[in-house]
Amino acid sequence: MTAETSPANGERISLLRVLGPGHVWALGVGIVLVGEYMGWNFAVGKGGAIAALIACWFAGLLYTCVAMIDSEVTSTVAAAGGQYAQAKHIVGPLMAFNVGLYLVFAYTMLEAANAITLGHLVQTVGAMAGFENTNDKPFIVLTIMFLAWLNYRGVYTTLTFSLVITAFAFVSICVLFFAVQPWSDVYIKHDQLLTGLPYGWLGVLAALHFGMWFYLGIEGTTQAAEEVRSPARALPLGTMTGIITLLIAATMTWYICSGLMPWEYLGQSVTPLFDAARLTNSTLLMVLLFIGTIFSALASANCCINDASRAWFSMGRDHYLPQVFGAVHPKYRTPYRSIVFLVPVALVFAYFAPLDRVITFSILSGLLEYTFMAFSVILFRRKWPLGTIKRGYVHPFHPLPAVMLLVLCAATYFAVFLGYGTQLIAMMVFYIVASLWFALHRYKYVRRGEQFAMPWPKPVGY
């Protein structure tokens, strides 16, 4: 056995603080932008183009609340794990364990969904090029392995890579928007294609499920809290510019696609933005949007690995999970064991599970997380009122955003229940069983006092 290096003079290995606001923006937007390229348009199938627009803005409001709340809380909890760390400090261990699981599953499922999508795209290219019996599996596996390797090697390169490809994907949407000349009716035919609400207001409610696709994952910016150079500045800045970017991208995407395609087709399209580019008959735009689609899926999977591994790592560090997962690589300064451990989990889901179930599991885990956030920020303001703790950002109109978030979450639960009721119940049972395991078995291993390392004052009333 080789000689081991042991800690001397209190020496510690921590995650590397090298990221700036641009990386935070890339982490938030990078996860989500694939939702503009594919997925959001199923909202059109549920209730028509107008319903999809209502869902787009409704979900936009929901996520603006999420971004504001997140920015305030995370600017004080500068720890990897994001909402898990927030739950640990603000609510308690059982909530933290559950939130940690929501995060890991939401991101790992999303990673699997992105890998499936990339594999499908490569397979489609192969079929279009005339090759028969093409197989998507090797490309699904390669996507996951390559991105895990990149994440293993260091956070700076990983998120710089995401920054470049996410910016490319966003600029591609902007180029398409101006290329279809929204100021004229040369391409855009809203006057002919917008046909009201084909399924009435029930269709609008059903569309909410997929309206979330425009923004799902922006809250992942908080996972970078322990790796940004200036958390109090970079996290609110990156998160708020991220949600603004997504609101613009979502509205442009809806405007382009609903103006070029009838809702009956748009509601079933696999790659709506690429299809919109094809309708312009411009080869340049087709190539641009195809690359944009590939890049957006790649960026999303990349950021998902980053976020899921940080959440898993934080839980291991506090002994909510076996401590081995709380290890940091001494050279690359990444949570390497968590990254490696989650690879087979993502591979199993990407290889064997159907895409719609994987996506729905991700959405439901995200919804549970947002519900927690609404309660969490109310408790946060009550326990640590303004003035008792330094905040990098203070969100306005409290508690209105929290109340709105709760109402919007309740409406979206109902929308999901309409389409995926069995899965919703199965998932709730899963989290209840996991909670019982934690409370009855795992909790005795948790570092009860040591897990609270933040220099916070005692909460009001204690």
């Binding site: 390797w149 109090a232 905040r391 390392a453």
Partner: protein, 61 residues
Amino acid sequence: MNTFALLEYSAWGLSILLGLWMLVDMFRTDRSYSEDLLTSSREGEIEDASAVDPPQKRGAR
């Protein structure tokens, strides 16, 4: 064997290489450093609190 089949085999090969690289590096690292050092990370602190609460700005604590 056509070009796409070659691409598929390349993807499998590259995936195996990347996976092996990570596993070998992980085992090497685990053998070279003590577990205490590898798991010595603690929650971070805010190094640069660029803004404070409005009441603090007004000195009304």
